[in-house]
């Protein structure tokens, strides 16, 4: 399927915060309560429309465990957007945000758009991190903030699409060098041949063309 731009995203955050579930909800519109632990980096893709232009989002879903950090770090390079996810019911995941942010800023390009996501907003009764705290953190570090629920799909679309909008605006402003693929943005061809998926993208079906690039 042809697209005007391809944006590469990376989803980062502590283990168990719901990164894979967010991706599954976004690409496949479903929720799996019992999800296998991500043991490396998996990916999904979906086509969206911004300003009348078809934009393909290629999303890298990383493992949150410390042990996988060396593997996942190499995927920061060449990402135009990052979703930094924490779990509103586990304060420690919020406390680790600074480390994640430092890591992301150190290994990615400086223009990368980072969105802070407080996931599991449906579990309000078990909330340990207030929405205001998330907002304050985002304000302090210049991030966009949103609370989502991969279970109910609340704000999931918005999180991915708003990030894409921000990247798109940056492209319009000329902040991104779109000719350098290291920035995580690729200008599309008019007719990209449809390619079968790489392994691991099997879940990203439906209306989504899960083919790579």
């Amino acid at each position: 399927m042809s697209y005007a731009y391809l944006f590469k995203y990376i989803i980062i955050g502590d283990t168990g915060v719901g990164k894979s579930c967010l991706l599954l909800q976004f690409t496949d519109k479903r929720f799996q309560p019992v999800h296998d632990l991500t043991i490396g980096v998996e990916f999904g893709a979906r086509m969206i429309t911004i300003d009348g232009k078809q934009i393909k989002l290629q999303i890298w879903d990383t493992a949150g465990q410390e042990a996988f950090r060396s593997i996942t770090r190499s995927y920061y390079r060449g990402a135009a957007g990052a979703l930094l996810v924490y779990d509103i019911t586990r304060r420690e995941t919020f406390n680790h945000l600074t480390t994640w942010l430092e890591d992301a800023r150190q290994h990615s390009n400086s223009n990368m758009v980072i969105m802070l996501i407080g996931n599991k907003s449906d579990l309000d009764s078990r909330r340990e991190v207030k929405k205001e705290e998330g907002e304050a953190f985002a304000r302090e570090h210049g991030l966009v903030f949103m609370e989502t629920s991969a279970r109910t799909a609340a704000n999931v679309e918005e999180a991915f699409i708003n990030t894409a909008k921000e990247i798109y605006e940056k492209i319009q402003e000329g902040v991104f060098d779109i000719n350098n693929e290291a920035n995580g943005i690729k200008i599309g061809q008019q007719a990209t041949p449809t390619n079968p998926a790489l392994p691991g993208a099997g879940g990203a079906g439906g209306a989504v063309n899960s083919g790579c690039c």
């Binding site: 296998d36 043991i39 060396s70 593997i71 390619n195 392994p199 691991g200 790579c212």
Partner: protein, 825 residues
């Protein structure tokens, strides 16, 4: 580090040892080997195993499942040992030798052209100069035109590439390219999308630290070169190409920490899996990984899409892994043989589909089983249907009725419908049965009976709605509520409200008290549950119009609505029967009941007492019955005690005096209501209190002490037992300590944090994970949810028990002293 070995294990492959391969030559040092595997026309594998010796000889061992033969050949550059060799599935063998000056000689043979012991036909010989040691050698036929591709990688990072047809002198068109700065260790060819007339191929080249994708045209010129990844910390160990020789194939590279996927223009996913990767290969959509370990090799087959481990076995060190047409052979050195040229062969065997499906069903993975059968649906049509039936049954059990019917519907035409109809006969599956039979009627196999069944189902559906209507017509709200609760699991309040509205319109003018009573007996409670004001007002108006004379029996209709009763009775007493002691007595007891339910305060009772024209001793007796002790206190200390009659005052004074003289009696007021009432009666009657009246108090007290002592002795016994059990448990764990090293929760696989539960079976969980996943009360002594192990106390013999209980038993000492004290009493 965790790896994909954490995924679900479903063994659908096995390793089978085949007969070993032995060369006729004894104890020759082997410098290179390669083999190919072709499924011959008779279905048996045709294997060609090539071994190159240090002496420059090449031995080809051929076996076609029926007979085996062996040929040997010597290269033109025969004095140099063969360094690298490669064979294609079309039986083209290429061998490479290199001299001390790095000059290389490549010979290409067509093994199809060998007859008996003849030397095979040499298609081409290439002699070229190089600057470093050759490290990797790859040949392949790609594309529809089966163009020949050859690549040699060198230690200094340069490669020799050829892409075109095979001719006598390939060296004229072969070109050298400097690609990397580190040794090349992998070359893979795949076809390129042809956008013009020019033929081209993609060449994935892996050096130790960088992965490249090169586009090579048939003029042997590099059109483009792209760096896919560079990692200087972790060396690339081996690589393979998915679906070789097609345009969208992707490269899989093994590193020590993980397996990484790459497409020709971007990175793919990666999967953590530690270990030195010896071989990587694809079996359809499954990835085969051979990892070198301390004890040999570990072979793992993994289904990456579905996250399943299909095989994980260890064998002795694999020296080569051959694959073709779904046949996978692992060649290992026979360490037990003295002949160094003897090799063991293991075949990777996929279980037959029926066993695979059975295994998957046993693990409740019906979806995967269906996907497996889908590959060859026509062949397994019946099995597919059976599987769908089982899947449907499984879904039905789990309560996914609609999905179950969808699965059942797909068996129509293959399975007999009664197998499914029999499962859906229950009335709660009526809708599902209708759904299934409708699908059945759309098919060609339908019979008249199916139509009849659908009619019956529809009748049953209609019957249900008719029953509902019938209840509404009867205006029987109780049953409407029940019925609705059963059918809809919610109370349909609109129907009850309808009844209430009707109730308001009921005309009691011509009804006598009996009719009114019966009416309220039948409908009162339901209406009351919706609106108590209507009932109260109606009853008050009936009292007012003298339709109700015996108010007490109306009160009995609503025993649970004390407030309504109090209201109604107060109204009745106030207006029509102010002095009726019986009613006042009842009203007071109702108030006390409300006080017990904390609906009114003690003060309200006190105020009521002051107003009530009933005898004070009756009030006291009733108060005592309802344990309303505070009422007496209030009466005694109330500033408005002047309002209390003289008789009552003298009674209170008398009570005070008695208590002052005999302070011990004060405590008696809290026990033995019967004895107390006796003594109160005496006090009220003004007669003397004799010693025999106090006897029950004393005996009660005495009996109570005896009972308490007995209870305590029993408790001590129980405590001793418990202490003994805990001691034995403690000593057991002192002798056999258990170390809890678990870092991860066995449910969610995340690092443990408090609150967590550690079971003796070494499983550990987050408290929340246990609660949400196993639906158990965590404070119960239940076993581990994962393995079902119930904590068992080790049983000790009496001697051990005695020993344990004698030692360090402070509690027992304390309790025995306590018990002795009670005995002496």
């Amino acid at each position: 580090m965790m790896s994909f070995l954490e995924w679900k294990n479903v063994e659908i492959f096995d390793l089978v040892a085949l007969s070993s391969i032995q060369l006729n030559v004894q104890n020759t040092e082997i410098t290179a080997q390669c083999c190919n595997l072709i499924k011959s026309e008779n279905g048996k594998p045709n294997i060609k195993f090539v071994l190159c010796s240090k002496s420059g000889m090449v031995y080809v061992f051929m076996e076609n499942g029926v007979k085996s033969r062996q040929i040997s050949l010597k290269c033109p550059d025969g004095h140099q040992p063969i360094k690298l060799c490669c064979i294609t599935t079309t039986n083209i063998l290429a061998v490479l030798s290199q001299n001390d000056n790095y000059a290389i000689c490549i010979c290409i043979y067509d093994l199809n052209q060998t007859k008996k012991e003849e030397h095979p036909l040499c298609l081409s010989t290439i002699n070229l100069l190089a600057t470093s040691i050759a490290t990797v050698f790859e040949i392949s036929f790609i594309g529809i035109e089966k163009l020949f591709a050859l690549g040699v990688g060198f230690e200094k990072g340069d490669i020799l590439l050829y892409f075109g047809s095979i001719n006598r002198d390939l060296s004229l068109n072969m070109r050298r390219h400097t690609i990397a700065s580190s040794p090349i260790n992998g070359i893979q060819f795949s076809i390129c999308d042809q956008q013009n007339e020019m033929k081209a191929c993609n060449v994935f080249v892996t050096s130790v630290d960088v992965i490249y994708c090169i586009q090579l045209n048939d003029k042997n010129i590099i059109d483009s070169k792209m760096v896919l990844d560079s990692n200087h910390n972790m060396a690339n160990q081996c690589c393979t190409l998915s679906q070789p020789a097609v345009s969208d194939s992707f490269l899989v590279v093994g590193r020590d920490d993980a397996i990484y996927c790459f497409r020709r223009d971007c990175r793919g996913p990666c999967y953590a899996f530690e270990g030195h990767k010896q071989f990587l290969s694809w079996i359809d959509n499954y990835l085969l990984v051979v990892v070198k370990t301390n004890f040999g090799s570990a072979i793992t087959v993994v289904d990456i899409d579905n996250k399943l481990i299909l095989l994980h076995k260890r064998i002795s060190t694999v020296i080569d892994c051959v694959s073709s047409n779904k046949l996978y052979y692992f060649i290992t050195k026979d360490d037990n043989s003295k002949n160094v040229c003897k090799f063991n062969v293991h075949e990777l065997k996929e279980y037959p589909t029926n066993i695979k499906v059975k295994t998957l069903i046993a693990k409740c993975m019906h979806n995967n089983a269906l996907m497996m059968l889908k590959k060859d649906e026509s062949q397994y049509q019946y099995d597919n249907a059976i599987l769908r039936l089982k899947y449907g049954n499984n879904l039905l059990l789990k309560g996914f009725y609609a999905r179950a019917v969808t699965e059942y519907a797909q068996t129509i035409g293959i399975l007999k419908p009664y197998q499914i109809i029999s499962k859906l006969l229950s009335s709660r599956h009526n809708d599902n049965l209708i759904q299934y039979v409708k699908k059945l009627l759309e098919s060609k196999i339908t019979t008249f009976d199916h139509q009849k069944l659908l009619d019956i189902c529809s009748d049953r559906q209609r019957l249900r709605s008719r029953i509902g209507e019938l209840w509404i017509i009867r205006n029987d709200t109780t049953h409407i509520i029940d019925f609705k609760q059963i059918s809809n699991r919610s109370i349909n309040l609109s129907d009850v409200n309808h009844t209430v509205n009707n109730f308001q319109g009921v005309d009691f003018h011509n009804a006598d008290e009996e009719d009114i009573f019966n009416f309220f007996l039948e409908y009162g409670r339901e209406v009351l549950s919706v609106d108590s004001t209507i009932v109260l007002n109606t009853l008050k108006s009936l009292v007012k119009s003298h339709k109700i004379k015996n108010i007490l029996r109306f009160l009995m209709i609503f025993p649970d609505y004390s407030e309504l009763n109090v209201n109604l009775l107060s109204y009745y007493i106030e207006n029509y029967s102010p002095g009726d002691e019986k009613l006042l007595y009842y009203l007071f007891s109702l108030h006390l009941g409300l006080w017990q339910e904390n609906k009114i305060s003690a003060e309200d009772i006190t105020n009521l007492v002051k107003k009530m024209p009933i005898r004070f001793e009756k009030i006291l007796t009733l108060s005592k019955t309802y344990l309303f002790a505070i009422g007496i206190e209030n009466c005694k200390t109330s500033e408005e005690s002047e309002n209390i009659s003289e008789d009552d005052k003298s009674f209170l004074r008398c009570l005070d005096q008695h208590i002052k003289k005999n302070p011990n009696l004060a405590s008696l007021l809290t026990i033995g209501p019967r004895s107390l009432l006796t003594i109160l009666q005496k006090v009220c009657a003004g007669s003397d209190i004799k010693i025999k009246d106090c006897k029950p108090f004393l005996s009660e007290k005495f009996m109570k002490n005896i009972m308490d002592a007995k209870c305590e002795l029993g408790s001590i016994g129980d405590l001793n037992c418990e202490i003994a059990i805990h001691n034995s448990l403690e000593s057991h764990y002192k002798l056999n300590p258990i170390e809890f090293r678990n870092k991860y929760c066995d449910v969610c696989r995340q690092s443990l944090h408090m609150p967590s539960i550690y079971y003796l079976c070494q499983h550990s969980f987050h408290k929340d994970c246990v609660r949400t996943n196993y639906d158990t009360k965590i404070y119960d002594d239940v076993g581990c949810g994962l393995c079902g192990t119930v904590l068992e106390y080790p049983k000790l013999d009496d001697e051990q028990l005695d020993l344990i209980t004698k030692s360090c038993d402070i509690m027992k000492g304390v309790s025995s002293i306590f018990a002795t004290g009670i005995h002496s009493l």
